[in-house]
Structure formats: structure tokens, C-alpha cells
């Protein structure tokens, strides 16, 4: 199942979307330190499609998805997020 999350993003002049901060379900917020990759993808675990962002939060690499309807989600079995920034 997708776990929908709130994400603060930046829209560039060219319309590129970059995630900056993720708010977890317990209210903790995590800064996105690096976006290594952004490409179209299909999330086989959740049955959703969209843009897959490979991001680093602290020392952890994880994936953030922006689905076809404009909602951000993570796949349920992603590694637990590090402690709040």
C-alpha cells in the first residue's frame, strides 16, 4: 500500500519539481539532503505510477514517489526514517 506523505517542494522556473522536506505520519519532518535521480516509474509494491525520486535523507537513501494525481507517497517497506532534523 502507498503511504501518503506531505512534502515541501520547490518549483523551478522550468517547472522542475524538487522535494525539500518530508513530513512523516507521526509529525516528524525530514530534510531531503540530496536528489540523486528523478525518472518515470511504476511502483510494483503499490500499483501506482508516476515520478520516482531517489533521495538521501541523512545517511539513508530512499525513494519518494509523486503519483499521477499529484500525491506524494512512499512504499510501505521502505527503511525507517532517521530522527528529526
Amino acid at each position: 500500500m502507498p503511504r501518503y506523505v506531505s512534502v515541501v517542494v520547490r518549483f523551478s522556473e522550468e517547472g522542475a519539481i524538487t522535494p525539500l522536506e518530508v513530513e512523516w505520519r507521526d509529525g516528524r519532518k525530514f530534510m531531503v539532503d540530496e536528489v540523486a535521480d528523478c525518472r518515470r516509474g511504476a511502483s510494483m509494491k503499490t500499483g501506482r505510477r508516476g515520478m520516482r525520486y531517489t533521495v538521501r535523507i541523512g545517511a539513508h537513501w530512499t525513494e519518494l514517489w509523486l503519483d499521477e494525481r499529484g500525491r506524494w507517497f512512499v512504499e510501505e517497506k521502505v527503511l525507517e526514517m532517521p530522527t528529526t532534523v
Binding site: R39, R40, A42, S43, M44, T46, G47, R49
Partner: protein, 422 residues
């Protein structure tokens, strides 16, 4: 220069989309099935597990469940299939502008002119396409590669998984020619039987048939089939129009049919359904900017027997009420519309199409002013439906039958693969 043509085929398309959307159903025997309550309960697509259990596309769901008691049946989601189909075509368009769809789940590509931009090796291009569609859309495709369209399609048909098969001038005689003649596109069960009667059982046998035999048994089509079997088909891959993601086609007829949710046993219900069908047919003719000169109906009874009737009209038309009047007259002349003669399915078709811009002879004894008024009325209704949906304006007769008043026949109309030679 020899052409390089790919045929991309999404495996068990509807079922694959359903399994992608619902990960918990992967691994189960799954079928996409129509609505049994409205008597559309047949298998529309099945996954490999259901196929292994003997479930067949087109069979009633009741029968499918007897063969496979654990079968999971999900309803179709055509808007999702259209979305996936559009996205597959978008990926293919990045490799060539010569992309010709063949239904929602198949496409031919001609990469002859662009192959050098992607490494120059057709197999590697096919691998790249397959991988991209899998990773970006979550569904698998099988791909056939050859120098002509029929052989490319044979290649993709061979592998039910996500394989890639290439038929070259060096290997086709020992690969394509040994396959059953029924595998060739446009060779259906009737043609297969006719060929088998003369011991023509493989594509290689067909490739070596004489002109005399083919002309006598099959007419013009016979030599066309042999040309395909020999790998000499030069039919070009047509370029798709990006605005509607399909190739331009010559429309030869416009029709709609429906299996009614309950048997039609009275005038009121027959009129309700026929009106819905005629609305859709007439609206679609206006969209194609054509008028029809022949009105046809098809009737299937509750015992599954049926017939069709058609009539040439005095004047070409795309006016809804004129199409309805013609169809209704045909129906009333042939059906008593009572409980003793229940009707299961109705079909309306307009053919003998002419462009609506062609000059026409007004009817000296008719009311041209009234016809123009009806045309303006139809145009206004079309505009309202375009803006607010097909249910924005309804005829009272369509609302008479509660079982069908919610139907959107035009909105649900999806064109499936037309003839290879269309």
C-alpha cells in the same frame, strides 16, 4: 534498404493492468470480466494462471469459475486501459514517428530510419523498449522483429511472456514457415478449415500455393495471404496522429450494439434501447463528418438466434431522429415486440457513408427547412454533451427503462483493431 519493423504486444493487457493496480492479486488466477447483472458476464482477459486452469477469453464467467473455482474476477476499467495504452504509445514515439496502433495493446513501429540513433541493433532497441515499458508502466510486453509487419506480429505472438523474437531473411524458412497457418494474421478458423481441406497446414505450405488454387478458393484475398506468408508484404507502418493517438482510418460504417440487461419484451423498452443506440451512432457520424445512406439493424433473441436487416435510405443522413425512424421501422417490420419473442441484443449500423460536405440533392417533396432545424438541434445537443457529458441532454424515451437509463453507449464506445488492410 531492408525495413526494420517491430511489433509490440502487451501481454494479457487488461489482466496485466489489473494485477499491477492490485499487487495482492498477483499470483492468483485472475480474469477481467464484464458485469453479470447486466448480462455482460464474460471473460474479457485472463492472466497466465487462469489460462493454465483452462479459462478462455470470451467464455461466460459461470463456466470459467467451474473450471477454476479459485478464479478472482475483477471489473474492467477502460479509462485505465486507455491511459496505459496512451503511455505505451508515448514511449514508442520516442523511437520513431512511424507508430501504428492495432487495438489498445499492440503497435507496429518502423525504426528503419531511426535505428542508427539507438545503436543500430534492432534486438537491443527491442530490449530497451521492453525494459522501459516494464520499469515505467509496470507491465510486460513481447516484441517481434522482422522486415515486414506480418512476420513481426508472428514474433510477438510466439512468446506469451516478455520475450523478443526476431525473424530474419536467414531464419524465416525454418521458423516462420513451420508454424501453423492459423497463426498468420487474417487467417481465421474458416480460412484455416478451407486451407486444411487442401492439406495446407503451415505458413510454408501457404507460401507455396499456386495462383490457380488461391484465386479459385479465396479470390483476391488468397494472393494477399500468400504474399504475407512469403514475407513479401510491403504494407507500410502508418504514422499515428498524436492528437488522438491513432492512425487516420477510412470509416466505412458506424455502428453500436448492446446486450440488454434484461430481455426486451415490449415496445417501450425496445424504443428506449434503440434510441440510445441511434443517438450514439448519429453523434459519432457527425463527429466523423459523414452521413449514412444505408441503415441496418441486428437482432439477437433470448435463444441466441438472430438476424440482420438493412435498408437504403432516400437521402443520406446523420440526423438522430431520421436514423431512429429508419431503425425503428426495420425493427417493427420484423419483430412483434412482445413477451413471446424476447430480444436479448440490438445493433444499429449506418453504412454507405458519404462526406457531409458532398453536394446533395434536396428532396423536392420533403421539408428541407425541417431537416435543417433537426440538424441544428442535433448540433446544439452535441455541443451541450461535449461540454457537460453525454447525459446532459436525454430523450424521455431513453429514461423509460430504469435498467438502461444510466448507460452511456457513446462514452463507452472503444474502437478495437480494425482489418489489417483498412
Amino acid at each position: 534498404m531492408s525495413r526494420c519493423i517491430l511489433h509490440v504486444d502487451a501481454n494479457c493487457f487488461y489482466a496485466s493492468v489489473a494485477m499491477f493496480r492490485a499487487p495482492e492479486l498477483r499470483g492468483c488466477a485472475l480474469a477481467v470480466g464484464g458485469n453479470e447483472n447486466t448480462r455482460h458476464g464474460i471473460v474479457l482477459a485472463k492472466n497466465p494462471q487462469a489460462k493454465a486452469a483452462g479459462v478462455k477469453t470470451g467464455e461466460p464467467l459461470v463456466q470459467a469459475r467451474r473450471k477454476c473455482p479459485s478464479l478472482v474476477v475483477v471489473p474492467p476499467d477502460y479509462s485505465d486501459y486507455l491511459l496505459f495504452s496512451k503511455d505505451i504509445r508515448s514511449i514508442l514515439l520516442e523511437y520513431t514517428d512511424l507508430v501504428e496502433p492495432f487495438g489498445l495493446d499492440e503497435c507496429w513501429l518502423d525504426i528503419t530510419g531511426s535505428l542508427h540513433l539507438f545503436g543500430g541493433v534492432p534486438f537491443l532497441v527491442a530490449e530497451q523498449l521492453s525494459e522501459r515499458i516494464k520499469s515505467e508502466l509496470g507491465i510486460t510486453v513481447s516484441i517481434g522483429i522482422s522486415w515486414n509487419k506480418p512476420f513481426a506480429k508472428l514474433g510477438s505472438d510466439l512468446d506469451a511472456g516478455d520475450g523478443i523474437v526476431e525473424y530474419t531473411r536467414e531464419n524465416y524458412q525454418r521458423t516462420v514457415w513451420t508454424r501453423a497457418v492459423s497463426d498468420l494474421i487474417n487467417v481465421g478458423p474458416a480460412t484455416t478449415r478451407k486451407l486444411a481441406a487442401y492439406n495446407v497446414r503451415t505458413i510454408g505450405d501457404l507460401a507455396q500455393c499456386s495462383d490457380t488454387y488461391l484465386d479459385r478458393r479465396f479470390g483476391v484475398v488468397g494472393r494477399k495471404l500468400r504474399t504475407m506468408a512469403q514475407g513479401l508484404d510491403t504494407t507500410p507502418v502508418k504514422a499515428m496522429r498524436p492528437e488522438d493517438m491513432d492512425v487516420a482510418r477510412t470509416v466505412k460504417s458506424v455502428g453500436n450494439g448492446l446486450t440488454a440487461p434484461h430481455d426486451i419484451t415490449c415496445v417501450q423498452d425496445a424504443k428506449a434501447l434503440l434510441h440510445q443506440l441511434c443517438e450514439s451512432v448519429a453523434h459519432r457520424m457527425r463527429e466523423f463528418q459523414v452521413k449514412g445512406t444505408v441503415c441496418g439493424i441486428g437482432v439477437r433473441h433470448a435463444d441466441l438466434g438472430g438476424y440482420s436487416r438493412q435498408r437504403k435510405l432516400r437521402m443520406s443522413t446523420h440526423i438522430t431522429s431520421e436514423v431512429m425512424n429508419a431503425a425503428w421501422d426495420l425493427l417493427c417490420e420484423n419483430e412483434p415486440l412482445d413477451k413471446e419473442h424476447p430480444i436479448r441484443q440490438l445493433h444499429v449500423c449506418m453504412s454507405g457513408l458519404v462526406s457531409q460536405h458532398e453536394p446533395w440533392q434536396p428532396d423536392m417533396f420533403g421539408s428541407e427547412e425541417h431537416r435543417r432545424h433537426l440538424e441544428h438541434l442535433d448540433a446544439s445537443i452535441d455541443d451541450l454533451r461535449r461540454r457537460y457529458g453525454n447525459h446532459a441532454v436525454r430523450r424521455l424515451s431513453e429514461l423509460a427503462d430504469p435498467a438502461i437509463k444510466h448507460l452511456d453507449i457513446k462514452g463507452d464506445n472503444i474502437i478495437h483493431p480494425v482489418s489489417y488492410w483498412a
